[in-house]
Symmetry: C2
């Protein structure tokens, strides 16, 4: 199946915004068995849109466009595609009603230009927009139109704002694609998320055992992030479900303790969920991660219940004032040491009365390293009902990667403790 | 000038990674006057690369590819393009020496496969890689080759890792493009970064005055982020420099106090620089932003010198324990109140002895709002040598946007105080 994605937007071409649609849609399409084979971004001006759609129609059975369906003058996707397909645009009264209702509820006068969003290309289905005004459109392009190869194609137009596009895609577009372009073979995809083992070590541990499945057609892929490796298992055909299940069984048997989740799971969400279920609390004491762990956890709704406090204690004085780290320990071992990490965790736990405390102290760089304590060194301490433990890690990377890896390692220490 | 960007990588097509190259390169290219007119992403398998390059050659005078120059079996960009251009690949000894040296310095045995990175397409220039092994390549494609229109094109191949690509681009590729494809007209671009005014208010304040310049050819654009509007001024031709300077003068006259920086400036960098210059310190007391402001500031190298501590005090108990907020104030006004914000800031400043303290308390949502204090309400207090001030903001958006807007507002309060 040739499936292509066309992102429109001059702000993309000027490098003003990140193309998150590409990332999000490619991930979803791959996971349902329709990987995008080509993605194109073009400005929303001139003839770029018609040219890009015409080219895609010459190759692809499935084409998704994003952007250009709104009410302003640079929203020209709908018109350009209607022209290209030589189909008229007609006003859809039910859609106009919904758009008027959208403005009425918000007590805003509907601008005249907003009516254009109720125009529908002849023969297109309307994909309702629950979170905005512009509906999506889906049209089956017949071979007698602009298709050179005599095969029909499915062309789907989605609005640009992610909060509108994402629910429309999940709720309406996925079922539509599956109904109109059924896969000839069944497709199964499973992602296992691991932390704590490098890609090559994982390959070493599981490679030989999954090899027969790979030879039989299993698609085994790795994707690495900071202190993170996703193991992606995918297969097509009548045996797909069994093959992926067998592969998952092998991976779990070999490296199960390193798997923290599946699909889109993230460690911060998992930690907040585990603590919430147990009605337990966590306090953070961060030095070199500078509040990043706290930021990650507080991105999760409901975090305030399980996280009474997080302390970013950069200076020695702050470590003593807020965490009661002893000045003699700081003088004797230095701020970046096992002993100080332990006292930070113990102090944080004691001062808030929380069930657990995580403390990190290290050297994020680029400066501040020494031969004995080079840039990248970090101590992570975990205090809890069963006592306090400390581990040393070495993350000699740029500041942001250092923070991400250290946060992942610290949260993983807590995950393992919570699941003991 | 038609300029196209081709990003290769199967991980892009599976939606495993964000395409940051597109964002970064499009921004740089636009700012030097060569905006990318089309960007394409394709998998690094099969014939997709040769097809995409062939198509781009039929349209563009300038083509940049990213990825596929490394030593592994899916790094096929170099070979596929050599085939397409019908040019041989030959080993470049100086490049091989550099690659061998790269491994020797790191005390790693060079894998045999790494040699392939020293292969050069006949007629190509080598773009040295100071941060990795694979050099970039630049080749002028002659019309007698695969160009249908009889015009030569410049084809530039860059390696995938951002920490290799970015310095190569800035140091070597920009001068090369300017030398080999000089713009017929001079081009000037200037971005003014503002915070605190919405896009429509900015348009209202500057629109009439810049209108004559826009009519004369000035390109005026706005790009909005959370509590942020970039005003982009660009012009071509002999009058470009004067037009952009005149426009900047008008914008600064009308909304100068809202401009915090130019080009890629960010508020956290600016705050760390201002505090460093003045040898002053800042303590943070965050509730609803959950450590995000602290995280942003500590992303800046050198932040540890000016930021002794950041306190994330979610619970009332933590506000009392660490910031000495009075229990009576919490009981009387609630945690989300002017009175508590002021006590948080005063407490943070007093307890660390820092010159300034910023405190935020609000309701990030999605739950926790009331009629009197709805989701999105936030109080920001700033304590400093000149006393303590507090402001109320309303940011009724999702959690992440709420954090970003509030952080921007808090740092802007401090910027204005520091520049008084």
């Amino acid at each position: 199946m040739v499936a292509e994605l066309i992102n429109t937007g001059t702000e993309l071409m000027l490098g003003r915004v990140l193309n998150t649609h590409q990332h999000w849609l490619c991930r979803r399409m791959a996971d349902i068995g329709y990987p995008i084979t080509r993605q194109v971004a073009i400005p929303d001006s001139g003839s770029a849109i018609s040219e890009a759609v015409r080219e895609s129609l010459s190759r692809a059975e499935l084409i998704i466009t994003t952007g250009g369906l709104g009410p302003t003058s640079d929203d020209i996707t709908r018109e350009r595609i209607a022209q290209l397909l030589a189909k008229p645009l007609t006003l859809d009264n039910a859609t106009l009603d919904r758009i008027q209702q959208f403005y009425r509820v918000r007590k805003i006068v509907m601008p005249e230009r907003a009516r254009v969003q109720a125009m529908v290309i002849e023969g297109a289905r309307i994909i309702e927009n629950q979170h905005g005004t512009a509906p999506g459109l889906a049209i089956q392009v017949q071979p007698n139109n602009v298709r050179p190869d005599g095969k029909p194609a499915l062309l789907i137009m989605l609005p640009g704002p992610p909060r509108e596009l994402r629910p429309m895609f999940s709720e309406s577009v996925v079922p539509l694609i599956k109904a109109l372009l059924p896969l000839s073979d069944s497709f199964v995809c499973r992602t296992l998320r691991t932390t704590g083992l490098g890609e090559s070590l994982i390959q070493e541990r599981i490679g030989d055992d999954v090899e027969p499945l790979v030879s039989a057609g299993l698609d085994l892929g790795y994707c690495c992030g900071p202190s993170l490796v996703d193991v992606r298992l995918a297969a097509r055909g009548t045996q797909a479900l069994r093959m992926v299940a067998d592969a998952e069984h092998i991976v779990r048997e070999r490296i199960g303790s390193y798997i923290f989740g599946v699909e889109d799971d993230e460690l911060p969400e998992l930690i907040v969920r585990l603590l919430t279920e147990r009605k337990q609390t966590l306090t953070l004491a961060e030095s070199c991660t500078g509040g990043f762990i706290s930021h990650q956890l507080t991105n999760v709704p409901g975090a305030s219940v399980v996280l009474p406090a997080g302390l970013v204690t950069y200076s020695n004085a702050a470590k003593s004032t807020f965490l009661h780290v002893k000045e003699t320990t700081l003088a004797e071992h230095g701020a970046v040491s096992e002993a100080v990490a332990i006292q930070m965790a113990d102090g944080a736990r004691e001062r808030t009365g929380s069930d657990y405390a995580l403390a990190v102290t290290g050297i994020a760089g680029p400066s501040g390293g020494t031969d004995a304590k080079p840039v990248g060194i970090v101590f992570v301490a975990l205090a809890g009902p069963r006592g306090t433990v400390v581990r040393k890690y070495f993350n000699p990377y740029d500041r942001q990667t250092f923070k991400q890896m250290t946060a992942q390692q610290a949260l993983e220490m807590l995950r393992r403790e919570l699941l003991k």
